[in-house]
Amino acid sequence: MLGTRRVLIGLATAALTLAAACGGSDSGSSGGTGGASSESIRGQTITVLVPYAMPQSLLAKFTAETGVKVNYVRTGWDATHNKLLVANQAKSYIADVAEFDWSFTGQFAGAQWVEPLDGLVDAKTLADLKSTDAAFISGGKTYAACYSNDFRVSMYNTKMFAKAGITEFPRTFDELAADVQKLKAAGVQYPLSIPMAATEGGVTPWYLLTLAMGGQLFDDQLAPTFSDSSSAGYQALQWEADAVSNGWVSPGSVAMDDAVAFDKFTAGETAIVLATGPGNMATANDKSQSNIAGDAALGLVPGVDGPGASFGLPEGLSIPVTAKHKAAAAAFIEWWERPENAIAIYKTQGSLPCGASAIKQLADSGELQGGDVLNAELPHVSPLFSAGAPIWYSQFSSDAQGLLNAAVKGQMSVGDALDQLASKAESHNQ
């Protein structure tokens, strides 16, 4: 009995001690989130969540300049997106600087998950990004600073083209069809690399083809315009389904993501990547990463009567509202966007800079791979959604991933897939 009482007293004492310790810890925590312009950032550590690698030497340079340490977290694009969704929904801290894709704008800005950068980031930096930041503006506020000037452009293997007797990249879809036959005759079994898996990367080619065929996915009121059989969206998906049945793409394309489709191109298995990012040129011509180094060249996206329209998929850096060190995060964004750093990152990581100054420096120095084609493609580039991605984009994208994939697999007709997609888009838009 005495033993039991002693245990009870002991437990009570331990509980009191623990409570006191917890209380002490709470009162001792800083609790501040920072963000004030006068905040001294030296000695702080920020977490940066971006789906692309960054050389440690560059991060060390930032730390040396600012005294801010960087915990750089790199995860895949989809994983980054999902982590951000969950953390934002739970209103919990995940990073001080976070990835912000063009497709996030409606949802993230609408939910007020990220800080407007106006006032946080230097106005001069934002002004330099003006041409590429349109996709990140919602309600007149800029929610991200563009770091990857990504848009769709075509890429081809010059050696395979020469072997097939083709002298220049096709300008129209008719020419493309003829060239694909020539490439097949020259021994390229599946000339085209087009990802068609049920992923975000698998629906991007359809977006591009729709624009390249002279159409739009939605009208000004965001009503879908792709279900009519004469629409560009319908023709684009039919073209993809035909590419599978005609053997223009490998059978595995229906389960292939964009990274794998590009790997097939750099492995020398295919001759054309219809839709890729300009930064991939550096990878395709890098001997350590590609079997076709020196043979890859950029081509303008084909169209109906001449080069077709393309669209931008810029990626930016944002500051979540839950960030702990907002001033340090802003300093990091400003540092990244400085031309010398953006160019250094382009050379190591392949992200084409967004700032006008950096692009000019790259073009002037002749270091911009495929610069002529990029300059020619830029006038054809427009945002997929002129007023920024709508708040329901992620739902539309998810629906499109499944339905388009089912259509190219032959599980449902092109018409049925697009009818269902249009119906879902209309319900999201209501």
């Binding site: 039991t4 992923t199 059978p251 595995g252």
Partner: protein, 301 residues
């Protein structure tokens, strides 16, 4: 600890022991409440609220609307149907093959230990790893299966194994069964080893041959192990995710209910409908689990 049952001192001692018991259990209960009950309650609250202005509506209580929505949504219904197909096929195969493997391994033969060790390997592999391995087999462009069949002239052009509806579900189920079969077999083998040899000797004296022994001795006495194997197999099949995701992503033709929950919740950020679907799945699993528990109880009584 000994304490007296009679007298005031004894009562107090008993009461103190009882309090001590509660105090000792309290941290574990608090932990369970924090880690299970709290998220469960929050999740349920989310499932009966609107998606908020992200989905063009005011935040608020919507009753069972989210549940009705997911039950009437064709994609969710297809995912439910696929899950039922995965479960029925996987559990049937695991049971039949598991009994066959267990009966075979029950016999003492040279190299039995090595066979047992090899048998356990697929179970030891994480399901993501086995999915990646099997992806190399089913890959339409460079996969082992197409390569072998093309070389043997069984097929004339590469086949996309995971593109068809039913076929794809069968192939993914086979991958799942490959991983779970060792566990089921070992459960059944343990059951077989617990049946006394005397029972077989007695039945042999009564003139029972191998089939009659299996039918009237082995199967009835194996019922508790079968019930356990059924429970484990069913719960693992209901929660099938990794194999599908690695082999065929979120493609509609193989999408299970858990993939649909993931897609709804984490890809489209529709937490309200995602949690509603998750609760429906949890309810179905609980009902099945309860049914199996009753079965197990009847089998062991």
């Amino acid at each position: 600890m000994r304490f007296r049952r009679s007298g005031g001192g004894g009562d107090r001692a008993a009461r103190e022991t009882q309090i001590l018991g509660w105090i000792l259990v309290a941290p574990a209960m608090l932990l369970v409440a924090a880690l299970v009950l709290y998220p469960l309650t929050q999740g349920f609250k989310q499932s009966i609220r609107s998606g908020g202005f992200l989905f063009g509506e005011l935040p608020g209580y919507v009753g069972s609307r989210n549940y009705r929505d997911v039950l009437s949504d064709q994609t969710s219904r297809d995912a439910m149907r696929h899950t039922v197909e995965y479960v029925l096929l996987a559990v049937s195969l695991e049971l039949v093959l598991g009994i066959a493997v267990a009966v075979t391994l029950h016999r003492v033969f040279r190299g039995r230990g090595i066979v047992l060790a090899i048998l356990i390997l697929p179970w030891a592999l994480p399901s993501v790893v086995s999915g990646v391995l099997w992806r190399r087999v089913f890959d339409p462009d460079n996969g082992l299966l197409n390569s072998v069949l093309l070389n043997l002239h069984v097929i004339s052009e590469p086949h996309v194994w995971l593109a068809s509806g039913r076929g794809a579900i069968v192939y993914i189920t086979l991958v799942h069964v490959w991983g779970v079969l060792p566990l089921v077999s070992l459960v059944l083998l343990a059951g077989l080893q617990s049946i006394p040899d005397e029972v077989y000797s007695a039945s042999a004296v009564d003139g029972a041959g191998p089939w009659r022994q299996f039918r009237y001795v082995t199967l009835p006495l194996l019922r508790p192990s079968i019930a356990i194997a059924l429970t484990v197999g069913t719960l693992l099949a209901i929660s099938i995710f990794d194999e599908i995701y690695v082999l065929n992503g979120t493609a509609l033709n193989t999408r299970s209910i858990l993939i649909q929950v993931y897609n709804t919740t984490f890809v489209t950020a529709d937490f309200a409908h995602g949690t509603a679907l998750a609760f429906l799945l949890a309810a179905a699993t609980a009902i099945l689990g309860g049914g199996y528990a009753l079965l197990l109880r009847r089998a062991t009584v």
